[in-house]
């Protein structure tokens, strides 16, 4: 089944595609995409189920690091190929819509 490429999905996939070998964790993904983690989670779950993304828990001692383990996400080799193709073929918002959004942002 073809992956539904919503704008949020595209943002996440693009962040992961910047350097497919690099692993990103929740906070980094949130900073890269501007999405909040609750929104990103179901998308990452779907990407993982489709085999585009692989995830792993960081192997640390939480009491030594004084923080919980992070969960890292990375594109799989086939996921990177499929994601590039999907991004290339995905619908993008029209230029006029983006200009209107930018203008609204400036006014606010």
């Amino acid at each position: 089944m073809a992956m539904r490429m919503t704008l949020q999905t595209q943002l996440i996939v693009q962040a992961l595609l910047k350097d497919p070998a690099r692993e990103l964790y929740g906070l980094e993904l949130s900073q890269e995409t501007g999405l909040l983690p609750g929104t990103a989670y179901p998308i990452l779950m779907r990407l993982e189920n489709e085999g585009w993304v692989t995830a792993r828990w960081e192997d640390i001692d939480p009491s030594a690091e004084k923080r919980p383990a992070r969960r890292y996400y990375r594109l799989t080799a086939s996921g990177a190929t499929q994601a590039s193709a999907a991004i290339a073929g995905a619908r993008r918002p029209a230029g006029s819509a983006l200009r209107r959004l930018a203008a609204e942002g400036d006014q606010a």
């Binding site: 964790y25 929740g26 906070l27 949130s30 909040l36 983690p37 609750g38 929104t39 989670y41 179901p42 779950m45 779907r46 189920n49 828990w57 939480p62 009491s63 004084k66 923080r67 919980p68 383990a69 992070r70 969960r71």
Partner: protein, 166 residues
């Protein structure tokens, strides 16, 4: 005459088999749909109650009192690092309790992972971002509950059908 009887018997058996197969498929998909609807209804009820309780608790506890009371909610891991920092697990408060309740409504493997990721995010995010993140986690939790149960039920029904075919 015998050949006709045998052919008729075979046809009846085949028809019965097909009928039972169709009934099983219909029952499995109906059960999946009912579970999904039940999950959605349950989620809505729990969240309406949970969010109302969380908002009430949030308003009733001013500044320091609220901050102190939240320490009890955190896992032992976070106590050392979080004190005195502007990290956000402290800001999670009653929202964190509702998140734990929501995680219990998910399939166990998904719930544990969702809560673990949330805990990791909230432990490192700045306070303002963490407050927004908790709201976002709560807003999207029903979606995670429904899609994770739908995926689990679909997996189970596929396994059941495969076993029945064997």
């Amino acid at each position: 005459v015998n050949a006709r009887r045998v052919a008729l018997a075979v046809a009846v058996v085949l028809a019965l088999g097909a009928g039972v197969g169709v009934l099983i498929t219909v029952a499995v998909s109906a059960a999946a749909e009912i579970m999904t609807v039940l999950a959605a209804v349950l989620t809505t009820v729990v969240f309406a109650a949970g969010v109302a309780q969380a908002s009430a608790a949030d308003k009733s506890m001013p500044g320091e009192g609220r901050r102190r009371s939240l320490h009890g909610l955190l896992s032992a891991v976070l106590h050392g690092g979080a004190q005195g920092q502007e990290t956000c697990v402290l800001a999670a408060g009653a929202g964190w309790r509702v998140m734990r309740a929501a995680a219990r409504l998910m399939p166990p493997s998904v719930g544990g992972r969702w809560l673990g990721e949330a805990e990791s995010f909230l432990a490192e995010a700045p306070a303002a971002l963490a407050r927004d993140a908790v709201r976002d986690y709560l807003a999207t939790a029903p979606l995670v509950i429904v899609i994770s149960w739908a995926a689990a039920i679909s997996r189970w029904s596929q396994l059941a059908i495969r076993k029945a075919v064997r």
